[in-house]
Amino acid sequence: MSEHPVRIASGQGFWGDDLEAPVRQVEGGPIDYLMLDYLAEVTMSIMQKQRSRNPAAGYARDFVPLMERIFPACARRGIRVVSNAGGVNPGECARAVAEAGRRAGVSGRAKVGVVTGDDLMDRLDELLAAGHELRNMETDEPLASVRHSVRSANVYLGARPIVRALRGGALVVVTGRSTDTALTYAPMAHEFGWRRDSWDKLASGVVAGHINECGAQASGGNCLADWWTIPDLAEVGFPIVEARRDGSFVVTKHPGLGGVVSLRTVKEQILYEMGDPATYITPDVIADFTTIRLAEEGSDRVRVHGVRGRAPTPFLKVSIAYAAGFKAVGTLVYAWPDAAAKARAASRILRERLDRLGLAFDRVLVEMVGWDATHGPLAGDPPRDLPEVQLRVGVRGPDRAAIERFTREIAPLVLTGPPSVTGFAGGRPRVQEIVAYWPALIDRTVVEPHLSADFVDV
């Protein structure tokens, strides 16, 4: 075990995460890789919309100025960056990153790798015609029923194309819809030369990826266990995985930064967004999370070992986004005394007006923020002396005009409804188009031949 472990630092858990975190990871101590996860299910459709307006857009723009800041240190120290910031336009993202490298003064000293082949948008009709139904994994409906509303379709890719880019010498690897976990275990597979059927090692890498993929959620952020004892979250250290050739690893963080890495923080993150723990499916392996062994190895160090895996399925998962109607949410605040009674009365009046207008919605949801919006009926009856409550009414439906009209029915309640009401300074609620998520499976043999790893010189 004298071999130096490979240190893979997490720098971003979603598009919108702490912008300074990746800089702290680079400056706070030794690391070999920095992984940055920018994509959630809905992010791809937002990026698709941006690209339809501007062919050079459609990726996580924050990634470019970040790279400009850290490029000199990465090039000097050989820190390799792996990110799915490419969104629906990894080629343009890589070009912008290469330009950022030139501005940062590392011309001729770095290559940017680009992984493509995940985008099925242009192939959809061909695939449907060939009998790939892309049925919704939750409802079993075939995609044909919403084909005209599809906005984006991307396959979740695994480690292999990232490994190809790393093997080709990329200092920075930009991908589209790679799985969040692959951003961490691809560097492990590359560094240790794992075989495709090293199921246990790959499965251990998947666990490392799951721990890294939500940033500080593994190192003290959003940790419920004794949260008030966690030090210095203002400058929280994101997790770092120190990986060994046998697949085992230690979760840690830079010592000078805030947060905590403990059995409790790591367990909470392992369980985050968990389905059947024995069957955690990825493109490269099925990991069994019931085989994970954890051990605390001193302060801010948790060792993970014993993970078992098995061969993956013949399918890859496709993330499809489609337009599914409209929604709007309006709010008003009611003050003591009898705040909840006033808010309830206002909600009844609003419902009656919407009925009289003959507006039909698929769904109307009334919540009382400050009382039952998060725990519903478990919150019980509101206390009589509740100091204030926010009435929050949401509507959803296929008819934009009906939703639009709803947004004009909130303000009138201020002068025509129950008293001691305020909090309307934000103006009329905004109508939002709903772009919904359609998970599907596709035969991997129709995707894999299209995957490629290309390079842009800085």
Binding site: L271, E273, A278, L294, K327, Y437
Partner: protein
Amino acid sequence: MATIPLLELAHARSGDKGNTANVGVIAYEPRDYPLIRDRVTADRVGEHFRGLIEGPVERFELENLHALNFLLHGALDGGGTVSLMTDAQGKVFSTALLRMEIEVPDEVAERVRGRGRVPAAVTGESP
């Protein structure tokens, strides 16, 4: 026997998968895991969330982590971007589950009393 909130025995984290919320429940002390496993059944959790979720509850055991994972189907009003809920991504189903009252031996209740809440010394409030 005494009745205590699950909050005093376990911590938890929740998240979403489409229209399903997941809640991972983790024993603070490994020795309390068997008690939690016996008391916090899928049926009890289904009852606990009646009116808040539309579908069934599935439970998975992770004895290696002294934890249980629950899938609450139909919990998120369609989930993701479709949902009108404040908690469209199921982030706080964790503490909603920890409200559950369970029966434990008196000595356990005594040992864990006040666990899971900010101590008065920290908030500066009188107890």
